[in-house]
Each structure stands twice: as structure tokens, then as C-alpha cells.
């Protein structure tokens, strides 16, 4: 029992440490995508415990850089149906358990 628990912990740790940002769906142009992805990674790492503040950081930075009305959702399990402006959507996984969805719609 203990061993399996340890294993699980190790797995979880390992996943968190060794997991990379994986883009699930995106229709942004290449540069924008990379920039956004890096921003998301930074924000999630910085506010590892608080999704809301991470989302806030991402949203505000995106608004400044790319124009108004971005929306950000961070979580570990959710379903969504959104309307987004074409070429302004990024949906990615990060950290082994987080999913981030960023889109623009004014």
C-alpha cells in the first residue's frame, strides 16, 4: 500500500516536473502562439496554487499585448463551449494536470 502510494506520488511529481506544455488546439499564428504559450507557462508556474491569479495575469498581459477582451480559463477538469475570434484561440495542457484555454472575443 505504501509502496503504491509512493509510486503514485512519484508519478505525480514526475509528471509535474517532466511534463511540458502540450498544445491541444490552436489557430493562432506561429509567433503569437509561442508567446502566449510561454506566458501561460510562466503564469501557471508563478501562481501554482492559485488558478485565479494565474488566469488574471494571463488575461491582463494578453489584453495589453494583443488587444482587448481576452478570456482565460485554467483548471483541471472542465468542459466548455466558447465563441472566439478567428485566429485567437489557444488550448493547451501544462504541468501534467492543468488545462488552459485562452481566447479573444469582444
Amino acid at each position: 500500500m505504501e509502496e503504491t502510494e509512493e509510486e503514485k506520488k512519484d508519478e505525480a511529481d514526475y509528471k509535474r516536473l517532466h511534463s511540458f506544455p502540450l498544445i491541444r488546439h490552436s489557430d493562432m499564428p506561429e509567433e503569437m502562439r509561442i508567446e502566449t504559450m510561454e506566458l501561460c507557462v510562466t503564469a501557471c508556474e508563478k501562481h501554482a496554487t492559485n488558478n485565479e491569479s494565474a488566469a488574471k495575469m494571463i488575461k491582463e498581459t494578453m489584453d495589453k499585448k494583443f488587444g482587448s477582451s481576452w478570456h482565460v480559463v485554467i483548471g483541471e477538469g472542465f468542459g466548455f463551449e466558447i465563441t472566439h475570434e478567428v485566429k485567437n484561440l489557444l488550448y493547451m495542457f501544462f504541468g501534467g494536470s492543468l488545462a488552459v484555454c485562452v481566447w479573444k472575443c469582444s
Partner: protein
């Protein structure tokens, strides 16, 4: 003397009259006083006279002398001269102002009827109370003005100084009183008009504004950005799965690239730590579809040309039975391409391995109009579009598929080059090409043919060209190496060139063919109409010469079954069949127009077909009719379109004919044309046969039913050698059977092979008795 004293008095008076007004009275008194004192002093009243005093008589003393007082100012100069600019001269100024101003008082009273007075009255007219005040003002002002005037006037001296003096005093007092009275009245009044006073300069204020433009409203709205919907569901396991997948993919990619040992962690496939950016693989959608598209294309084509495909497979012209010996050619597919519409078909060759694949070379026979060339490889399964297409700068004149490496195509160009195309490689250029320094021909290459691999297992092929050289090309280490095999020297044409050189004219080869069995033996047809029998081993001498035609030999071909027989065709309208041991032709056919090409059929040694430039195809069967063609049919309908080449399909009963417009027509041979000599061997028959056929007998038991009646016959053939001593052991059965393993209903080329029986015996004969070995 009292009169003297009186004189004094009078003088005193006179003096005082000359004096000023105010002192006149006092002067009198002084005179009296002096006179009195004078008298008082001298009690005697003695008149003292000065010595220089006038002595006047009494009469004179009594005379009254009038003296007047005037107001004239004695001090005024009366001789002032001023320059007058009008008269431009000095003028005496007459009237001098005698006025001496003793007192001035500036008043501020204005006449009521003057401008200012009227203005003020208007201003104050609104205030009714002030009206009576104004009226008081008016008389006061009037009196004030009057007094002012009076003062000025009165200041001038009157007749009598005293009177004037008094009057002046009085009047001045009066004026002063009146003025005072007026002033008394005035102070309360001026307060009101002071409010209404305009400024000193009587300005009128007036304002103006610039023109203001009217405002206009204008609105605009940009298009909203395009929006899309997106939805997904995410859970922990979903994320986990995605990561696993991604890691696996990375693993595979890594393994493919390098053979690095992947660090395998606990779960199956964790790769090394990498926080780098990984993108999901997006495949090239077009390449995935390519294969499917090809299959779909073929299906569509099959559907479009369904009836043709059915004809190809199953249709047998039933009317052949009634036609006697004659047959027909049923047109099937037509192959043409946009790019080749202006090019002529110069060569056709079937692929030995894939029976539905054939290559067509395009170029131009016209010497003047030489353009580019095309090489298209078509398949019967897709009549609309070639499978492979290559283009070249120079027109293609001939081509040949390699018998074993069926992806290799040898091609000869109009510019003398030869090249090898590799169909397996997806390039548009030939894999190997000759060049000027590697020994290309100097004239168009008319024919190329593959040979067996040489001893080093290198592919090699031969080419014949108008420059009189027959060159063997070998593919050595990815290079084409050439070797001149033979030079066609025209007989008796050695010339004396300059400086005593012996020049040798070379004939130009136009076609050649290699013997099927005898390796070194080959025939070359030339432009002069001769056919040389040559050997590969002898490079400067021919084995034999046939005076074949009057014009260029267009095609020469060995009979596939008969070892000794070959056929040749020429532009001199003839097709001739020869035995290579005999100098004269066995059969001569005059086809009334230039013959473009001739080909033996692969299934019968007696059947051959020829195309003439009038667009007709002729099919002969010597077994049936030695003189006339079994079928003469117009293949190409357009005028001015010459048919250039013809080829039999090695397996199917079809022929392809090419023409000058780049069109390939595929025709099916009717049953009458496909008659194969029946082969029945019974022990009872002794057969005299002057020819032997080439192929060895084989035991063939045909088990499957023939598809068509006229095609395959059931035959039990046993080896000839044992039963028929007349036959040599080398008598072969030209039996090539392919068993049909698949459903005969299946469409050609898919899956199993189609049944094809090709067999022929040596039946061709000319000039001698021949008896067909029929079974």
C-alpha cells in the same frame, strides 16, 4: 495865480483822464490837495512857475479842450506784419485784439438745443421727474451763457470810465450773483445727467462673429472580427492520455532519427526532460489523400468508360462468323493529353511486367519543326491521364522497357542523346543521360533496345541512329558508358578527301532488331533501303546485306516464333517478309501508301499488323490469306493525321496505334484476327514441316475453360520429341500459358492475371510448301 492853480487842477484832471479809471476820483482829490497845500504853503498865493513852463494867454487858458477816453490799448503794436501764404506777401495785420482778459470762468453748461443737449434730453426723457429740472436748467444755462457773453462784452471799456466801472461792477456782481444762483441750482442737477453721459469719444460698441460652419454627423462601423465556436471537455485522465500519446510520438520520432537509447522510465514511454515546445503533428493532408485519390480516379474512369472496359473484356464480334475470313478492329480507348496535342507519337512500348502499362514517346518527325518531347506512361485502367509523364527538351524518337527491370526505360532523342528513365524515382528528369562528351549520336536516335545484362550485371542497351553508328550503352557505376559496336559504312562510297584521306560515308540506320534467340545476331535497316545482318562480334563487317527497299526502312522485326523470319516495312509502300537466309523476300505486300510501322503479333507467328500514313491499320494472317489483309480499317478519322506506330499487347488481344496528333487509339482485335493455328498432335500424323519453331514444347494441360471460343483450345500436348521423330527436339511449343487464378469476371489488371494463351507454330512460309501443323 489862481488861474495857474486852476490849470494845474485841469491838468490834473486831464492827467487823471489819461490815467486809469479807478484812480480818477482820487486824482482829483490830490490835485485839490496839492493846490491847497500850495496855497497853504505860500500864504501869498504866489504862482510859482517853472522856467520852462508854457506861457499861455488867458483866452487860451479858458479854451476847453476836449479830451476823450478810449479803451484802446496804447501798448498794442499797430504795425505787425504777417506773411500771408495766400497772397504770398507780407500784410499788415489790422485788427488787433484790444481785449484784455481780466477774468475767465469756464462753465460746463450747454445749450439745450445743441447736439449734446438734445442727446442728454433724450436720455433723460425716460425719467419724467427730471423733466422740470431740465427746464430750470435751460433758463439757468441761458442766463449763465448770457452773463458770460455779457461779461466778455462788458469787459470792454464803455464811454465813461466811471460808469463803465460801476456798471461792470454791478453787472459783474449781478452776473456773479446769477452765476452763483445758477451754480446753486446746478449742483443738484448735474448728478443725474452724469450717469447718462457717454464716454468722451462717443464710441459705439459693435460685435461680430465669424461664420460658423454647420456641424455634420457621420458614423461608421467596422466589420466585426470573424468568430468561431470551440468546445471541449477536459479531465485529468484526458490530460494524462494526451501526454502519454505525445511522449510516445516523440519517442518514435527520436528512434527513427537516431538510434539513441531512449531513457525508459517506469511507465512505458517517458522521454527525457524537456520543457520545450511540442506541437501536435499535423500531417500533410494532401499526401494522405494522394493514394486514395488515385484509386478514386481509377474508379471514376472505370465508371466513365465502363462500356469500353466491358467490351475490352468480353465483347467478341459475333458477326465475324459471317464475315468469312475478315475481321474488324473494335475501337476501345483513346489516350490523349493536352500537352501532346501538337506532338506526334514516335514510339510505343508495352511494359513487360504490367500488362496494362505502356509507354508512349512523343516528338516530331518533321525536320523543320523540332520542339520538345514528352514521355507519357499510360495504363489501361486510367485512360484520362497518364501515370507518369516526363518532358524533355528534344523530341523522343524511340523507347524501350527493360525486360527484367520493368521500371527502366531507355529513350532515344532527336538530338542524338539517349537517356534512361527510372519510373520508381519521382523525378521528372532521366536518371542517366548521355551527353556530347559521352558519345551521343550526332543524328536522331531511331531505335533503342535493351540487351541482356552483361557479364558484370550491368544493364546495357543498343541504339541506332542516322549517323551510321550503332552504339552500345552500358550503365556502369551510375554512368552511361558508350561503345561503338558497328559503323554502317555504305558500300562503295569511300571517297578521296583532301590530303589523300580516305573518307567513308556512313549509311544511316533507321531501325534494328535483335534476334530472340541468337544473341549476337541483329538486323539493321537503313535509310537507303538496305537491311544489314550484323553480328555484335564483328564490328566492321556485315554478315549479310539485303537490298530490301527503295526507300528508308522504317521498321524491321524478327518473327517472335520463327527463327529465320523477319519482316520489314518501308516508306516505299511495301511490307516484306524475309527469310534471313534468302536474299529475296518471301512475301511482298503493297499497301498503296507509305507504311509507318509493322509488328508481329505475340500470339501467332502468322499474324502481323501494319499501319500506313493514311490512318489505316492492316492486319494480316498468313495462315489464312497470304495475299490480302484480313482487316483494313481506318483507325484515325481526322484528315491529315498519319498513324505512326503500332504495337500489340503481349497479353490482351488489343493493339495500340499512335498518330501524329499525339493520340493513341486502342483497338481490340476481332476473333477472326486472332485465330491461332490449332495444335493437335496425334501419333498418326507425320508432318513435313520445313520450319521449326523456336520454343520448346511444354506439357500443358489446360484445365480452365477458355474464355472465348477462338482463343484457347484444349490441347493435350505432349512432348514432341518422343512421339514425333520428325520433329527435332528443338521444336518448341510456343506455349505460354498463364493460368487464371482469379475470377474471370474480374477487371483486367486487378489482382489475378487474365487468361491469355499465346501460341503459334511455325506456319509462316513463303515460296515453299508449308504445311501448318495443325492439331
Amino acid at each position: 495865480m489862481p488861474p495857474k492853480a486852476a490849470d494845474k487842477r485841469r491838468q490834473g484832471q486831464g492827467a487823471s483822464s489819461g490815467g486809469k479809471a479807478g484812480k480818477a476820483g482820487k486824482a482829483k482829490k490830490r490835485d485839490e490837495e496839492t493846490s491847497e497845500t500850495g496855497e497853504d504853503g505860500l500864504t501869498a498865493r504866489a504862482v510859482v512857475r517853472s522856467p520852462d513852463q508854457l506861457r499861455l494867454t488867458e483866452a487860451e487858458l479858458k479854451a476847453e479842450i476836449t479830451r476823450t477816453l478810449t479803451a484802446d490799448n496804447p501798448h498794442i503794436p499797430r504795425d505787425i506784419v504777417r506773411f500771408s501764404f495766400i497772397e504770398r506777401a507780407y500784410k499788415l495785420v489790422d485788427d488787433m485784439d484790444q481785449t484784455t482778459i481780466h477774468f475767465t470762468l469756464n462753465g460746463y453748461l450747454i445749450h439745450k438745443d445743441s447736439d449734446e443737449g438734445r442727446r442728454q434730453s433724450i436720455r433723460s426723457s425716460t425719467e419724467a421727474e427730471q423733466a422740470p429740472v431740465e427746464e430750470k436748467e435751460a433758463p439757468v444755462e441761458a442766463s449763465a451763457e448770457a452773463t458770460e457773453e455779457a461779461e466778455t462784452k462788458d469787459e470792454e471799456p464803455t464811454e465813461e470810465a466811471e460808469a463803465a466801472e460801476e456798471e461792470e461792477r454791478e453787472q459783474a456782481a449781478e452776473a456773479a450773483e446769477e452765476a452763483k444762483a445758477a451754480e446753486a441750482e446746478e449742483p443738484p442737477l448735474p448728478k443725474q445727467p452724469e450717469k447718462k453721459l457717454a464716454n468722451q469719444f462717443n464710441f459705439i460698441e459693435r460685435g461680430s462673429a465669424t461664420y460658423q460652419y454647420p456641424l455634420r454627423e457621420k458614423g461608421l462601423q467596422t466589420d466585426p472580427a470573424p468568430i468561431e465556436n470551440f468546445s471541449d471537455n477536459v479531465n485529468q485522465w484526458c490530460i494524462y492520455d494526451a501526454y502519454m500519446e505525445e511522449l510516445e510520438r516523440i519517442e518514435k520520432a527520436k528512434e527513427k532519427e537516431k538510434a539513441k537509447p531512449v531513457v525508459v522510465k517506469k511507465e512505458e514511454t517517458h522521454s527525457g526532460r524537456k520543457l520545450s515546445y511540442v506541437e501536435p503533428p499535423h500531417s500533410d493532408s494532401l499526401s494522405k489523400v494522394a493514394k486514395a485519390a488515385k484509386i478514386a480516379e481509377r474508379m471514376v474512369n472505370l465508371n466513365t468508360f465502363d462500356d469500353i472496359a466491358q467490351d475490352f473484356k468480353y465483347f467478341e464480334d459475333a458477326s465475324d462468323e459471317f464475315r468469312g475470313q475478315e475481321g474488324t478492329l473494335l475501337p476501345l480507348w483513346k489516350f490523349q493529353s493536352e500537352k501532346t496535342k501538337k506532338l506526334a507519337v514516335t514510339a510505343i512500348s508495352w511494359n513487360p511486367k504490367y500488362n496494362d502499362l505502356f509507354a508512349v514517346g512523343y516528338g516530331s518527325y518533321d525536320f523543320m519543326k523540332q520542339g520538345h518531347g514528352m514521355l507519357l506512361v499510360y495504363t489501361l485502367k486510367n485512360p484520362s491521364f497518364p501515370e507518369y509523364s516526363f518532358s524533355s527538351e528534344s523530341g523522343i524518337m524511340c523507347l524501350d522497357f527493360h525486360s527484367e527491370h520493368s521500371h527502366l526505360l531507355a529513350v532515344g532523342f532527336y538530338d542524338g542523346n539517349v537517356a534512361i528513365y527510372n519510373l520508381k524515382k519521382a523525378s521528372s528528369q532521366p536518371s542517366y543521360k548521355s551527353s556530347a562528351k559521352s558519345g551521343k549520336h550526332t543524328e536522331p536516335v531511331w531505335q533503342v533496345k535493351w540487351q541482356k545484362d552483361d557479364m558484370d550485371n550491368n544493364c546495357n542497351f543498343f541504339s541506332v541512329s542516322s549517323d551510321g553508328r550503332i552504339v552500345s550503352w552500358t550503365l556502369v557505376k551510375n554512368e552511361l558508358v558508350h561503345m561503338d559496336v558497328i559503323k554502317l559504312s555504305a558500300d562503295g562510297t569511300t571517297m578521296q578527301g583532301p590530303e589523300g584521306l580516305q573518307l567513308q560515308m556512313l549509311g544511316s540506320g533507321t531501325s534494328f532488331d535483335f534476334h530472340k534467340k541468337i544473341d549476337y545476331l541483329f538486323l539493321v535497316g537503313t535509310e537507303e533501303g538496305k537491311i544489314y545482318k550484323c553480328s555484335k562480334s564483328y564490328s566492321n563487317q556485315f554478315l549479310d546485306v539485303f537490298e530490301a527497299h527503295h526507300m528508308a526502312v522504317d521498321s524491321v522485326s524478327w518473327n517472335p516464333f520463327h527463327l529465320k523470319v523477319f519482316i520489314s516495312c518501308s516508306s516505299d509502300w511495301t511490307v516484306k517478309i524475309w527469310d534471313h537466309t534468302i536474299k529475296t523476300p518471301m512475301f511482298v505486300y503493297d499497301l498503296s501508301t507509305a507504311v509507318g510501322d509493322v509488328a508481329w503479333s505475340p500470339y501467332s507467328s502468322t499474324v502481323f499488323a501494319a499501319v500506313t500514313i493514311d490512318g489505316q491499320a492492316h492486319v494480316f494472317d498468313l495462315n489464312i490469306n497470304k495475299v490480302e489483309p484480313l482487316c483494313t480499317q481506318l483507325v484515325v478519322t481526322r484528315k491529315k493525321n498519319k498513324t505512326t506506330h503500332i504495337q500489340f499487347n503481349p497479353v490482351h488481344p488489343i493493339i495500340v496505334v499512335g498518330d501524329e496528333r499525339g493520340l493513341i487509339t486502342c483497338l481490340k482485335l476481332s476473333p477472326n484476327l486472332r485465330k491461332m493455328p490449332r495444335l493437335l498432335l496425334r501419333p498418326l500424323w507425320t508432318v513435313q514441316c520445313s520450319w521449326v519453331s523456336e520454343h520448346g514444347w511444354g506439357v500443358c494441360n489446360t484445365t480452365s475453360a477458355s474464355l472465348q471460343d477462338t482463343w484457347a483450345r484444349k490441347a493435350d500436348v505432349s512432348t514432341g520429341s518422343s512421339k514425333h521423330p520428325a520433329w527435332t527436339s528443338t521444336v518448341p511449343s510456343p506455349f505460354q500459358e498463364r493460368t487464371d487464378t482469379s475470377n474471370p469476371q474480374e477487371l483486367p489488371g486487378q489482382g489475378g492475371a487474365v487468361v491469355g494463351y499465346s501460341w503459334a507454330l511455325s506456319v509462316c512460309g513463303a515460296g515453299r510448301d508449308f504445311s501448318a501443323v495443325t492439331v
